[in-house]
């Protein structure tokens, strides 16, 4: 699928995350997190898995996380990607 428009999903609450997705020529991933030091690699893995599921190879994905659990990350990404591709 293809990212067609700029969208946002999620909230700024604790244990949640905010996802910003927009079209771009290349794939860009930005991660900001209160627990970046400990969990950046896991958040990145979640993003990469979601991108693979949706077969997306270009776009700008920004995640601003406040300690969300992995299923919350997966859900927010899926919502964001579905919105961006629709």
């Amino acid at each position: 699928m293809e990212i067609k428009r700029a969208v946002q999903a999620g909230t700024m609450q604790s244990s949640d995350l905010m996802v910003f997705i927009e079209p771009a020529d290349e794939l860009e991933i930005e991660i900001e997190s209160t627990v970046k030091k400990q969990f950046e690699h896991l958040i990145r893995a979640q993003i990469e898995a979601a991108l693979e599921t949706f077969a997306i190879c270009s776009g700008r994905i920004r995640v601003n996380d406040r300690g969300a659990l992995d299923y919350a990350i997966a859900a927010r990404l899926e919502t964001g990607l579905r919105r961006a591709c629709s």
């Binding site: 946002q8 909230t11 609450q13 604790s14």
Partner: protein, 336 residues
């Protein structure tokens, strides 16, 4: 639940809440949101462009999740506008509430704190990475509306005193000449100077990310504070990234605000270890060259006089058909 405050009645409640906390209610905002409890407004916040303001939560509801809820709604209201980053000004004692929400401090001032949400500054610096040079470098921030021989003189003088000179062209598009034209004319005008780099200021110098006046009690010196924030941002975020040790500025014979800015600059940058060098303006027929003079002559279409005030590159643009729109704008308006 966070709702948009649209009716006059709701906006009046917001005004009361904001004023009860000792702030001023500002009429200019894009979106105003709030939270009600038992029919009463207990929290409000507004967004103007990518600046959050008037964030007020009634005391007995502070410390919970309301701040995050308000800001979430404000960001959602902006999802179509493709912003990289958002800014908020707050009191120094409230900075940690925003830091917990992943805001990052840009400037700390005794009276206020400027924070950013998102990686705007880092992305901006990363985009300019190729321009970074070691050494004792200098900087000039200019609007160049449009680029004149006065600017060129300033640039040549400054470039001779430093290893690398950075020309920051103000990106904010509220001048007669659009940003794209202004920066193009600067680039063409300094192309012959090997140690000069031209770049845009983004949000980080002389931008609309200035201090909202509501934050201050009436009578406080908003203008000075605004300048101080701008200069601290330059000193702490831009200067270190480009090894800038000197800032150059032209003497200001006309504009009071600019002169005040220059005075504040000398004082404040010295405290941050950056030298300010004032360069006197180049004069033609006993009158300092200024962009406002150029705009006045352009309005009269006095091209023969413009000849001695602007470099050939700028003159070519002023004479070209793309300047038609600028002529139109000049006729329609006053100073800028």
């Amino acid at each position: 639940m966070v709702v948009r405050l649209i009716s006059e009645r709701d906006q009046n409640s917001a005004r009361q809440l904001v004023e009860a906390q000792g702030f001023r209610f500002e009429e200019n905002f894009d979106v105003l949101v709030g939270v009600f409890d038992a029919g009463e407004l207990i929290a409000t916040a507004a967004r103007e462009g990518h600046i959050f303001k008037m964030i007020c939560i009634r005391e007995d509801f502070q410390g919970g999740s309301l701040l995050g809820e308000l800001l979430t709604e404000l960001i959602a209201s902006c999802s179509a506008c493709r912003r990289d980053n958002f800014f908020v000004f707050t009191k120094p004692e409230r900075r940690s509430s925003f830091e917990q929400l992943n805001f990052r401090v840009l400037v700390e001032h005794p009276q206020l704190c400027l924070l950013e949400y998102g990686n705007g500054l880092q992305n901006y610096l990363r985009q300019q990475r190729e321009l970074v040079r070691p050494g004792n470098n200098g900087a000039i921030v200019m609007n160049a509306n449009p680029f004149t021989l006065g600017h060129l003189y300033l640039v040549e003088q400054a470039a001779a005193q430093v290893d690398q000179l950075y020309l920051f062209v103000v990106r904010e598009d509220c001048s007669t000449f659009p940003f794209a034209t202004r920066i193009a004319l600067v680039r063409e005008g300094v192309a012959h100077l090997a140690n000069v780099s031209v770049l845009e200021t983004s949000d980080y110098a002389v931008s609309r990310v200035t201090f909202p006046a509501y934050f201050l009690k009436a009578g406080a010196d908003v203008e000075t504070l605004q300048m101080e924030v701008d200069l601290l941002l330059f000193a702490r975020c831009l200067a270190p990234a480009f090894n800038i040790t000197t800032r150059f500025v032209g003497t200001e014979p006309y504009c009071r605000v600019t002169r005040h800015y220059n005075e504040t600059m000398i004082r404040l940058l010295a405290e941050e270890g950056i030298k300010t060098v004032l360069l006197s303006r180049r004069e033609v027929k006993g009158e300092p060259i200024s962009a406002s003079l150029v705009r006045r002559l352009l309005k009269k279409e006095a091209f023969e006089e413009l000849d001695s005030l602007v470099p050939e590159t700028t003159l070519a643009c002023l004479r070209s058909h793309q300047a038609a729109e600028i002529h139109e704008r000049l006729r329609a308006q006053g100073r800028h």
